[in-house]
C-alpha cells in the first residue's frame, strides 16, 4: 500500500485514483475563485452588480496612494509587533512545558490548545468583556487604586482623586493585545516541538563546560531551536498580517488593518476590483515572506 504510493511514478493508476479528488477539489474551490478575483483586480465597475474586466492597472495604481500604503505598513508593524511579543512570551512558555514533569506536559499543552476549540468570535468578545471600562481589568485596577487611596489616608495624606476607568479597548494597544492572545498558541507549539527534540544533555554539556544559563541559552538553545523559531514566526506573522476580526472588534477608528480595508471595498464600498487588487497585494507580500523563509532554510540545509 505504502509502497504503491511511494512509487507513484511506476504506479500511475493508484496514484491517479488517490490524487484526482483533491486536485479536482482544489481546482474547483480554490484555484478557480482565486483566478476570478485576480481577473477582477484588472477590471472596473460597469454597474451595481457588473464588473468589466478591461485589463486596467488603475486599481493597483490607486493602491499605491499613501492612504493605502500607510495601512499596509501599519499592518506589517502591528503584525510584526504581535509576532515579537508572541516570541518573547511564547519562548519561556515553551521552555516551561519542555522542562515540566512528563505527567504535567499533556495538560499544559492542552491548556495551550484549549482556546483553539472555542470560536474566535466568542474568545474576542470574552476578552472585550474583560477589558471594557466596566470590565474586570478596570475593576481590579479600581480596587488597587482605592486600596492605595486608603493607605494614603491611613498615613495622614490626602486621598487620591476618584478612579477614572482606563480606556483599554478600541485602540492599537487592544488590537495588539488581542492579536497576541489569539496567536500565542501558533508560536508556542512549533517552539515546543523544536525544544522537545533538543537533546537535554547538550544543555548539560554546555553547563559542564563552564557556560552559565544565559550563555547556554544564547549559544545552544536558541540556535538549535532556530527552525522552531522561524516556523513560529511565519505562522504567527502571516495570519496576523491578514487579521480582520480583532482590529474590527477591538480596534478604534485609527487601528484598522489592511484586511478591514479590503472588507470595506467588497461590502460597503462595493468596489470589488479595488478590493481584489488589495487582496492580491497582500497575498504577494505573504508569498515574498514564505519565499524568504524557504530560501533561508535551503541555505541552512546546503551548509
Amino acid at each position: 500500500m505504502s509502497g504503491a504510493l511511494q512509487d507513484w511514478k511506476s504506479q500511475k493508476k493508484p496514484f491517479a485514483a488517490v490524487v484526482t479528488a483533491p486536485v479536482f477539489w482544489l481546482a474547483l474551490f480554490f484555484v478557480a475563485p482565486m483566478a476570478i478575483v485576480w481577473l477582477y483586480s484588472f477590471g472596473q465597475n460597469a454597474g451595481p452588480a457588473d464588473i468589466e474586466i478591461s485589463g486596467t492597472l488603475d486599481n493597483y495604481k490607486r493602491a499605491t496612494e499613501w492612504l493605502y500604503v500607510s495601512i499596509f505598513l501599519k499592518s506589517f508593524a502591528v503584525a510584526g509587533l504581535t509576532t515579537l511579543l508572541c516570541l518573547i512570551i511564547g519562548f519561556p512558555v515553551a521552555m516551561a512545558i519542555t522542562f515540566a514533569a512528563p505527567k504535567w506536559r499533556p495538560w499544559l499543552l492542552l491548556g495551550i490548545m484549549l482556546p483553539f476549540w472555542t470560536n474566535l468570535l466568542i474568545r474576542t468578545y470574552a476578552l472585550m468583556a474583560l477589558m471594557g471600562t466596566n470590565g474586570y481589568m478596570n475593576k481590579g485596577l479600581a480596587g488597587l487604586w482605592e486600596g492605595a487611596s486608603w493607605l494614603r489616608t491611613l498615613v495622614g495624606m490626602q486621598p487620591l482623586d476618584a478612579w477614572t476607568p482606563v480606556q483599554l479597548l478600541y485602540n492599537n494597544f487592544a488590537v495588539v493585545l488581542g492579536l497576541v492572545y489569539v496567536h500565542l498558541p501558533f508560536m508556542v507549539l512549533p517552539l515546543y516541538s523544536a525544544l522537545d527534540r533538543l537533546d537535554k544533555s547538550l544543555i548539560e554539556a554546555s553547563l559542564d563546560l563552564g557556560a552559565g544559563h544565559l550563555k547556554t541559552f544564547m549559544q545552544i538553545v536558541v540556535p538549535l531551536a532556530a527552525p522552531g523559531i522561524v516556523a513560529g514566526v511565519m505562522i504567527t506573522l502571516i495570519p496576523a498580517l491578514g487579521a480582520y476580526l480583532t482590529p474590527d472588534l477591538m480596534g478604534g477608528t485609527d487601528s484598522q488593518m489592511i484586511a478591514n480595508v479590503i472588507e470595506r471595498q467588497f461590502k460597503r464600498a462595493n468596489d470589488w476590483p479595488f478590493g481584489a487588487a488589495l487582496s492580491f497585494l497582500l497575498i504577494y507580500a505573504m508569498f515574498i515572506l514564505i519565499a524568504f523563509q524557504s530560501m533561508r532554510s535551503n541555505k541552512v540545509k546546503a551548509a
Binding site: D199, S201, E204, L207, D208, L209, G210, Q219
Partner: protein, 376 residues
Amino acid sequence: MTQAKQPIIQIRNVSKRFGKVTAVDNISLDILAGEFFVLLGPSGCGKTTLLRMIAGFEMPTEGQIFIDGQDMSLVPPNKRPVNMVFQSYAVFPHMNVTDNVGYGLRIAGVSKGEIRDRVAEALELVKLGGFEDRMPDQMSGGQRQRVALARSLVMRPKVLLLDEPLSALDAKLRAQMQFELADLQDKVGITFVTVTHDQDEALSMASRVAVINKGEVAQLAPPADLYEYPANRFVADFVGSVNIFEGKLTLDEPDKAAVDCPGLGKIYLNHGVTGPHGADVWVALRPEKIYLHVPGEGKAVRAAAQDAPDGHNLARGTIKGMSYLGDITLYEIQLDGGQMIRVSRPNLSRHDQEDFTWDDKVSMHWRADSPVVLLS
C-alpha cells in the same frame, strides 16, 4: 606514575532520593588522584546518579562531595573542576569540530591563539587531526565520542567523568577504545571516573572498581581482587561467570577450612575464612577453575591435585549442554546430586573439544585455593 596518591574526590555519606525511590544509599568512598576509577553495576543501581552528583547535575539529598578538598554542595556544574563525556556524547550539532572543542575555552575567555593551540593539541591527543572543519552529522559515533573527549580534555579538568563511554560502540571498536582510554588516561594523568554496566570494560580499564548494587557499594577493589576475591554473592555473580552452592562451614582454622555443600560435595580450602562455625555460607567456584577429567588420564590429573584430603574437592556429573566458543568450550554439567554446574575448558589443542560429548559421565576436581567462601 606519581606515588603520592591523594584523594581527589571524597564522597561522604551521600544519599539521593527521587520521591520514594532511593537511588544512592549512604555511599562513602574516596577516588584517588590519577587513578582510573570505575563505577560498575547493573542498570538502575544508582551509579549514573552518583556520577551526575559529582558533575553537579544532581544534588545529594544527604551527605557531601568534596573535590580537591573543596565542598561542592553549593557549587553549580559550570563552576566545578570536572568535565563530563556524556553517554550520548552531546556534541553540539550546530558547531564544527574546532568550535565544539573550543567551546569551553571561549566561554572562559581564553585568548584566540591559545584556544587554537590547545584545540589542536586536544584533537591530536584523540587522533582527530584533520577533522577540524567537520560537522558532527558527517562523523561516525566513534569520532563524535572523540570530539566529546577532546572537548572535555581541553579544559584540563581535575577529574574527567565518563558516562557509559563505550556502550554505543560496536564490539571491535569498543575493545580498541578500552585500550585507548586507558592509554590516554596514562598520558594526560587526569583522574578518570567511568560509569559502566559492562564488567569487561571495568576489568580491562580500571585501577579500582566500585561495584554498586541497589544504591550501595557492594565492593571496592582492584579488578583482579574483584574477580578472585569477591566479597559477596552479588559481586561474585555480577563480575564474571560463577557457580554458587549453599553449604555449612564445618572447619575453620587459620590455614584450612571446609564447607559441606549438599549440592556439590565436601569443599576443602587451604586457608581460613574466619566465619562463624556451623554457619550457612556460600561457595563460589569459577567455571575455568574446575578441571574435567578426560577418561584415561584421570588418575594423573588427580595425582597432581593432592592438595586436599581424600573425598574433597571432587564431583561427578553428566554433560547436559556444550557450547563451543573457539578458544574455550563451555559445559553445562548436571551433578549427581541434581544441581547444574558450569565448567569451561580451554581448547589447547585443535581436537580438545572432541574429548567430551553430550550425556558423557564425567568427574571433575578443583584446587584447594580455588573456591571462595562467601558469608553474604
